[in-house]
């Protein structure tokens, strides 16, 4: 049982994790290295250790992932552009305060070009639609201060069409409410000043029902298992709608801390499983949200 965040161990974990050549996790993360970099770097930043990496090397690698003609970023060199990696790339540059090296016009045009007639966003030219992409597009353009390049009203209309009667949101109209999708929709509405479309009391209750009495952890949907990544999706959603006090604070903190690997660092989805960078990031981010709320 852990009673504090083992920050140094997590920093070591992040800096060393990827060096294991035989690691299956490394193999399957090739195409999403941009996401992995964002998770790792943001965690280092939250733990005040961003200086442990070479800013120049990171930034130059990030820029090699931008597609000349399309303007979007890929998950790794040699891959196709996609909004998912474009957001991570922009976020990484923002972390290093290097947004000025971007051709903002090019990147924002790439994103704006992916908005569909009904206000939704495709992830890339192949046309997959999901409210995740609505959030990604809006978040990215907001960082670049180019929200005016899209039809915000239609974007909001589409997100609202994905609202369910339980107050939550799914990936497309009629899809099951899911904490991850809720984070995306609430986030997009928050950024664009449209939180009045959210029934905060109803959604707040749905979100606080994600907390499991036994473990104190949060799940993403009714009757699913608690998972550390929902510490972020659920907590940040609750903070955006001013209802985070409906979560039992001590118990969620304890759950996250119990998911740490006390020997090698890193955080896992639940106390029994192996750690990974994704859950390390969301665990640390969730704790930092709670800490800042309490201060």
């Amino acid at each position: 049982m852990a009673d504090k965040l083992e920050a140094d161990k997590h920093v070591r974990y992040i800096l060393m994790a990827e060096k294991k050549k035989e690691s299956f996790e490394s193999v399957v993360m090739d195409h999403l290295r941009m996401n992995g970099a964002y998770w790792g770097l943001t965690t280092l930043d939250l733990l005040d250790k961003l200086g442990s990496v070479s800013q120049d090397e990171v930034v130059s690698w990030v820029m090699t992932c931008q597609h000349e003609s399309a303007g979007g970023f890929a998950g790794n060199t040699g891959h196709d552009p996609h909004v998912i990696y474009t957001l991570s790339a922009v976020q990484i540059l923002a972390l290093f305060d290097k947004l000025s090296i971007l051709d903002v016009q090019k990147v924002s045009s790439y994103i704006a070009g992916l908005q569909n007639e009904d206000g939704s966003f495709s992830g890339d030219i192949w046309g997959e639609v999901d409210t995740r992409f609505s959030y990604i597009a809006i978040c990215c353009l907001s960082i670049l201060k180019c929200l005016d390049k899209i039809n915000v009203e239609k974007a909001v209309d589409y997100i609202v069409s994905c609202k369910n009667l339980d107050g939550g949101f799914g990936c497309t109209p009629g899809a099951e409410s899911h904490a991850g999708q809720i984070f995306c929709c609430v986030g997009a509405l928050a950024i664009t000043g449209n939180l009045h479309h959210v029934d905060k009391d109803l959604l707040g209750w749905w979100l606080c029902e994600r907390q499991d009495y036994e473990s104190g952890g949060l799940n993403g949907r009714p009757e699913k298992l608690p998972d550390v990544c929902y510490s972020w999706w659920v907590l940040s959603s609750l903070i955006m709608i001013d209802r985070v006090h409906w979560i039992e604070n001590g118990k969620i903190v304890k759950f996250i801390l119990d998911c740490q690997d006390m020997d090698n660092g890193g955080i896992s989805d639940n106390p029994k499983d192996a750690v990974d960078i994704f859950h390390t990031y969301f665990g640390v981010a969730g704790l930092s949200l709670l800490e800042s709320k309490n201060n």
Binding site: K19, S54, E57, S60, W126, E128, E176, C208
Partner: protein
Amino acid sequence: MDFDETVPLSQRSEWADVVPLTQDDGPNPVVPIAYKEEFRETMDYVRAIYFSDERSPRALRLTEETLRLNSGNYTVWHFRRLVLEALNHDLFEELEFIERIAEDNSKNYQLWHHRRWVAEKLGPDVAGRELEFTRRVLSLDAKHYHAWSHRQWTLRALGGWEDELDYCHELLEADVFNNSAWNQRYYVITRSPLLGGLEAMRESEVSYTIKAILTNPANESSWRYLKALYKDDKESWISDSSVSSVCLNVLSRTDCFHGFALSTLLDLLCDGLRPTNEHKDSVRALANEEPDTNLAILVCTILGRVDPIRANYWAWRKSKITVAAM
């Protein structure tokens, strides 16, 4: 497939003319991806044909090899689509290919998007097949978010609504707590062109849901579904006696969690239900505390005790109750 996967690509005569392209990671990559040798080599070859834009049968086979190693590689899925189009490849075979990949790992967005791309090209004729595929995936994980998303798309774009409500029932028989199945039920009754819409279906659905609630009252999904049946019709919600009756029924039981019955009763009271003596007696029987004349406030107090992890929420609900309400 007649290639021998155990022979490295560099030793296969078929690939002798191709110069593999290695990835330039830079001197000290921030997340240097450590590679297994086989994976690295396959990636080098697929990178070569991707950059030379070779849309050939061997390219198709190589994308398959690559996707078996890493089905999350979205660029290779893209390239495979370009190759499929260039070769005018049999898309029914492609459905089978996707099913093979799904056997190992069906939890990636790329596979499902690819499936949709193929199914869309094949049209309404494959509606049954798509429903069958998602049914198989759901038989292994009945809450599989991608599978449900694909199933909803199939119904919407290709049809096949006829047996969907029965399918939801089948899943709920297996697990009455399956929130995805409840969500799908709602999807069907509100969107199926074969049914009459929410209001027409309400009576039979209320009856169905109440049976489910009584099977296990500690089920967040069934209670939420019940309320959703009265969307935008508060009057019917508070006046339909079967709704308050199921609350009373559950509250009289000693063998189950009362939280959802209490919160539903709370909602009814706040929405204007005038409590009968039966309601009052039922709630007071659960109260350890001095019974408050305000029934809704008493319900909140009890909820703070039976659902303690959400004590702050129930305290807030209590604070919102105006004394004017009973």
